[in-house]
Symmetry: C2
Subunit: 113 residues, 2 copies
Amino acid sequence: MIPPAKRIELLKVIAHPVRIKILEDLTQGVKCVSDFEESLDISQPNISQHLSLLRSHGSVDYFIDGRLKCYFLREPFIPELLELLKKEYDGDIPAPACCPVTKKGTYPGERRR
Amino acid sequence: MIPPAKRIELLKVIAHPVRIKILEDLTQGVKCVSDFEESLDISQPNISQHLSLLRSHGSVDYFIDGRLKCYFLREPFIPELLELLKKEYDGDIPAPACCPVTKKGTYPGERRR
DNA sequence: TAAAAATATAATAATGTTTGCATATAAATA
DNA sequence: TATTTATATGCAAACATTATTATATTTTTA
């Protein structure tokens, strides 16, 4: 079964260094826009744009409190993805023992890298 | 700790419907380019382009057997990601009980959505 | 009520991604 | 050796993403 288009879209939206950082920050708790101004070193409008994109994809939402907007994580897929991103692996998947098992059958050429 | 730039780059490369499908196919075993021609419904040059991008990021590699190129998964992060992508969640993360806990202190405005 | 603070929006330029198409390469076969 | 098969490459057009700048909106405070 192939992951549905929506989930792939979401993945694409998340896959940006600034947005990853925003989401990482949000796993620590609620943050308002000016908090991100401290941790992100990009302009305020740019932060708002990234937040707006994340919100439009349901990744985050906010409460309004006075003149602050207090953002929080909404999409349960995200914390697990962030965990996976940090995971370390030792070595690659081993190359398959022999090839090819394919619709075309086996070809006579010498196998090599 | 923030996932390093390389891993985010990789995520971005993976986050494309065709490439997800290619990687899904490869979790089933070795595939050559013409196998993808059957399962993907895009042109052969386009398939080669996607494979080439995946290879340049270390996601896949191939053996040559005759005139076939037999692609296989190389990046151990990928199978786990594909699993996670298929995972279902029921409902969003619950909104935090109260806000805001921020550098600016608590603002007097009424909290609301 | 005017000014300040916090955030958002719009327009734009720069950049990057994706695909389509034509062509190239390399190996196998006739 | 000419043809066919399998795959790759190069280039350009279409499209999407990103950051920047200026400005707008909303709320609070003076």
